[in-house]
Structures are given as structure tokens and as C-alpha cells.
Point group: C2
Chain length 427, copies 2
Amino acid sequence: MNSKIIDRREHLLGGSLSLSYSEPLHIVRGEGTYLFDVEGRRYLDCVNNVCHVGHCHPRVVRAAHEQMQRLNTNTRYLHETVLNLAERLSGKLPDHLNVSFFVCSGSEANELALRLARSATDRRDVCVLEGAYHGSTGTLIELSPHKFRGTGGFPAPDHVHVAPVPDGYRTAREVPPPSRAAHFVDLLETTLSQAAARKRPIGTFLAEAMPGCAGQIDPPAGYLQQAFQVARAAGAVAVADEVQTGFGRMGSHFWAFERQGAVPDVVTLGKPIGNGHPLAAVVTTRAIAEAFDNGMEYFNTFGGNPVSCAVGLAVLDVIEEEGLQEKALATGEFLLAGLRSLQRRFEILGDVRGAGLFLGAELVRDRETLEPADSEAQRLVEYAVQRGVLLSTDGPGRNVIKIKPPLVFSQADAERLLETIEAGLAG
Amino acid sequence: MNSKIIDRREHLLGGSLSLSYSEPLHIVRGEGTYLFDVEGRRYLDCVNNVCHVGHCHPRVVRAAHEQMQRLNTNTRYLHETVLNLAERLSGKLPDHLNVSFFVCSGSEANELALRLARSATDRRDVCVLEGAYHGSTGTLIELSPHKFRGTGGFPAPDHVHVAPVPDGYRTAREVPPPSRAAHFVDLLETTLSQAAARKRPIGTFLAEAMPGCAGQIDPPAGYLQQAFQVARAAGAVAVADEVQTGFGRMGSHFWAFERQGAVPDVVTLGKPIGNGHPLAAVVTTRAIAEAFDNGMEYFNTFGGNPVSCAVGLAVLDVIEEEGLQEKALATGEFLLAGLRSLQRRFEILGDVRGAGLFLGAELVRDRETLEPADSEAQRLVEYAVQRGVLLSTDGPGRNVIKIKPPLVFSQADAERLLETIEAGLAG
């Protein structure tokens, strides 16, 4: 049925673009938490964190349309929209994070964060966490073990230092839970001091507060707080990559770093910020912005244009007016409880973790050896899509089921998801 | 009047963002070739090449709105819009350029072009032209002499090789015009062979067919054709950066590289492709796309989404249906003739160059020494904005008046621009 469009795609687009599912979906419409294929079949979307406030949210669509009719130009002219968005973002962040830069993608945001940190420290070396993914540019692929350790990869370049990911389930079972944060902070300190000993002091520590591609890892409480302190003590700038986790998805907090009590010097924002519109941002301190302002203009052709910023403002409005952070908290807790209940019944469900609507369910063949149940995870995803529920896998073992739906995901949606996972695991 | 908004901007945005004009404009509306400030004052826009088919073109706005209401998601699902846009772009390019990748900005496009070329050659060294600007990421700033030679700059990194820009006016007056292309190709060959001799063979030759930030340079006819051949003979991939110059702006050709008879291996597209919407693309050969497809997925969250692609298709439709390439040719020739007439009357107008609606007028204090008339150029730009005409300067001497308006720029608009320049030079 889809063979003609798949054939066109193979001829027209690069083969390194991938398609989801063994029978790819030809999606033509989106609404709320649902996607619809060309045959009118409806899918419950449990994976697209980009369409954060729901696919095609009318308020966001209207904001874009109104501004597109009026003006879409660059930041070399004065415009209030970019200032209003900067003000709203600063208002959501700790007081010291009050200078914004607007760009077009999470990759551009992380690229700019690196430039900011380099200006502030005059150091080029970067420390990241094992399994991280930070973007698609050449520099960011080199900072993404998720990519360079995999197929078509390469050894870590000399300026890239990889600290262990704070994965309490898989790598620190021997450590008592209350000591795990300190355990992983010690390992980070070792990475930092080894780099310094090799005359490669770290200028940037770049980390997600809840590492996504590493397998929806939920670090031990307080890890990132201490990690940022340790990195700063070593002279590095601490960058929180909130591209996947920000904007209320955590439920308990607006940003994932807050849930860890961490204090970043720079935060990078992407995916959900524009509900699918190409918008991203970097927010930093006055001191770091001033170190960067060395006489070289920073210009981003599309970044901060009035349409993108009107979209960003509408997304913030919807999150607040529809109480989506609170909804993520309630629905997320319901889902977590449901998954934990399944975990008691199904041996293969080795771990269930996360917060709000950013959850992971790790499938293992043996709860002692933790052998990744990758093909089983893949089968569960394929089972779910056949039943109209969209999931995906991630993590180095490809055995973690990711759950990160639009925040409008309802209790009924959560029940349906749990039933589908239960049936898939039972079947 | 604008002091409050300027003050907010200074507090909320990074200081390395610049504002145009000594009295910055508070622009709130755009239509066709006009921008309107908050007081309702109308400005003839002669500089914004991004809003290629005219500010807020209703057809483009409608295409975005219709698609935003239906679906905006990523390329891991099948969708026809991205394929239709890829097909249309391939149809506009030489047959061998038939595999497309969609990204969000010209920077992301050039970043991906570098990754493609590295995969194909296994070489990391890059040759660019003096004065070039290729984007705002860390890697691209290092490949942009326009940036790294200026304030806040740094020495060229070891992997960056800079060949002389083929500026016949400023650096090759002693060479008879028919020999100038060969002269600059020889200089490029020297750069390439010196790099090879230092065991740093070039993997990528990245060039604009009509270098913009270098000062709207119009290379001697055939330069880029030979330059790409020479680069390829040295084992490099030839990348044409069409981010500023593509989509009919040249008038005589749809792409600037065609006007030079050049055959690129990769082209990068940006600014005008989405009329201001954050969209960009890379088009390459099947062989290069396959070398890149080594098992590492390439994914761009927003790149190739249905909204961006619907916008890209609408822009192509408008260019064709409104005959904008032909219009650029006619208006551009009228403008060039008018500027050349002014050049005969005003000694300071040292050179007039370009094609279609991508023109440059270089101001010099002395036609022999070519001393850049930078403050005079700045004064002319300020004079024009006072009279409601938007211009800007560029080039290493900041003495080149850039003219690159939306292509809907009319004969009457051109007459008004010429009158303004004439009055400014006379005044």
C-alpha cells in the first residue's frame, strides 16, 4: 500500500534518514495526542514530545498565522515579540539565567552553548555523559556517544571526555541507593581530573538532567546538582540540555534540572518550545553573554523572528492555561504506578523510571544479568503500532521503551497505553 | 521614541546581536518590498533577500496555515510533501544532484555538507574563499574568514585553508580581464597543493558562486567552473553555497553556480527557500549520499516537516507563476545600468557589479589606491534610511553597498532606489 511513496522516498531522500516501524506509517493528520494515517486509521501518539501541547493546537496555529500575515523578519530590527518571549523564558528560569539567544533547532542551541562556554573559559574540551545525544552537526556528533559509539561511528576525539551516565539500575546496583549520587559524582570528578592531568582541562560540562537517548535515565536525586558544582569547581561552564525535558514535561518541575536541584550556567531549549515549529533558544547569565560579546556579531538569520517567537509565546500560554505541567504530573504518576504494577507481574520489565510524561521501561531477559531484551522491546513496539499505539525504543541496548507523549495525554490515553503494554507483554 | 524597547532588548538579549542603523527601526509589518515601522512609516526594502517573493506573501502564508492545521511532524513517518519538495528542487538542479536532505537553516545545511564531504573523502581539511561567511556554528565560524579575521576573531585553524577571493576589481587589476579567471584558479591550485604538501589534503572546497559578505563579488566568468574542477582533481568535494544567491535571484539563471558554468557535487540552500520560514536543504549526488549512509542515522527533528515543505513548495510556485526570475533579470539590468550611469558621474562609486537582484556598489576614496570609503558608505546607508530606503554595507572594508531586495522589487522601486543613491552621493 505504501510501496509507491517508500520508493519515491528511497529515490529522493538520503538513505541515512530512517523510518519508524517495520510497516512505516503514512501519517497525514494530527490532533491532540492522535495521529491519523492516509487510510484514516487513528494512532495514540506516546512518543512525540515535540508536539508538546498537542498536534496542531489551534491556539498555536492561530498565533503563527496571525504573525505570518503581519511580519516575519530578522532581529536586526526592533520587535517586541522576541523580547516578550525572552522575558517569559527568564521568568520561568532561576534569576541568574536572564539573557536569551534564539536559534532554529536544538542543534543550533547546543552549538551556541559551546561557543558561549568557550568564550567564557578559553577552553575547548568538553565533558558529556555516556550515551548522550546532543545534536546533528559535526561538532555535536563528536559530543554524542549515542552516535559515535554506534554503527558508522568513530573513537572519541581528543577534546571529548565521556563520564559515566548516572544509571543506578544498570551500573551501580552494588552501591546502596543513598550513596549513588556521590558514586557517580566521584566518577565524573575522576574524568575531569584525568582530563586536567592530560593538560586538557574541561571548558564545558554538557548534560541532560534526565538523559533520553541513553535510555530515559533518571539519575540519583541530587546528582546533577553536585555534578554541576564539581564541573564548575574544575573551571567548566555547566550546560543543562533541556531540549527533550523542558517546558513542564517533568510534572513536578518546569525544567528537569530543577528536579535535581541543579544550578546551570547555560540552558539549551528546543523541541517542545515551538510545538513543532523550528525554534530553539539558549539562556545564560549576563557574565557569560558579556564574555561572548567580544566584538564579533552573532547573527542567526531566522532565529528570533516574530513568527517563531509568537509561536513560542502561544506554547507557554497553552501550557499555563491548560495546566499541562500539572496534567503531566498526574498522568505521569498514574502511568508510573501502572507500569510498576506490570513490573511485578512481568519478569522482563526490569526497570520502570522517569518523571511526569518522560518515562522509560527497560526490558531485560534476566533481572540478574540485565541482558538487554532488544528484540522483545522491538516486538512490543510493533505489537503496539498494530493496535494503534505509537511507542519507540532507545538506550544503548535498544531495550528501553520510551514514553514521552504530548502533555495533553489523558488518563484514558494512559489506561489504553497500559492495557496495550500489558497485552503485548502477555502475548 | 524607541528607547524603552532598546532598553528591554539590552536587558533580555545577548549584546552580540546587532541592530541596523544608528536609529534602529521598530518594524511591525511587511508587505511585498515594503516594511512598516510602529509609526506607520513605510520603507523600501532593498536588503532582505530572505523574504524572497515579498514580505508576507499571501500564497506562502496560506500554504503554511493550511498545513499547520493538518499536521506538523517529523520525517520518520511517510509524507508526500517532503518528497514533492525534493522532486521540485532536483528538477531545478543538474541531473546528478538528485538526493535531498532538509534542515532548518543555512548553517545546518553547510554543517551537513561538511559531514557529507568528510564521509566521501575521509578528509577533514576545508578550503574556503577569503572574506567568506558560511554560518554561525563553531565549525562554520572557523570556516568564515569574514568572521575570524574580524573583531573578536582568531587565526585560521590548521584544518582551514583560505584561497584568495576572485575579486577582479580589487586584487587583479594588473591582470587582463580575459586572464583573470585563470589567475584566480592558479591561486586556488597553489592553496590546494600547499595544503597537500603539508599532509593536509583538502576534503571540501566550499564556495559561493557570488561571494556576498566578501563584498558582493562577481568572479571572472568561468572561475567557479574551473575552481570546482581543480578542487575535484585534488580529491575534494565541491560544495556550492547557494544560501544567499539561489532561487532565481541571479535573473539569468536559477542558481549562481550555473551562471559560472560550474558543476558542484553538493549545493546548500537556505534563506530564500522558505521566504523567512526556518527551512534549508542540501542536495547532493547519489554516490555522496550513499557514502554518508554508513549505518549512522541522520535525523533532524524539524527538518523536512510537512509545514516547512509546504512553505518551500509555495515559494517555488510563486517564483514560477509570478515570473520572478525574469523580473529579477529585467529589474537587475535596469538597476545595473542606472548604477553604472551614476558611476560615470561620481568618482566615489569605484565599482558596480553583480547580476539580477544581487548587486554591489563599492565606494572608494581614490580610484587608483582603492582606499575603502567606509564612513561614506555608512553615511549613504543612513541617508537612505532617513528617506525610507533600506540598504546595508558589507565587504572587508565595509564600503560595499549591498542591494538584494525581495524579487518582487519593481521598476518603480528601482527608480526610487537610484534616485536615493544619486541624492545621497550628491549630498
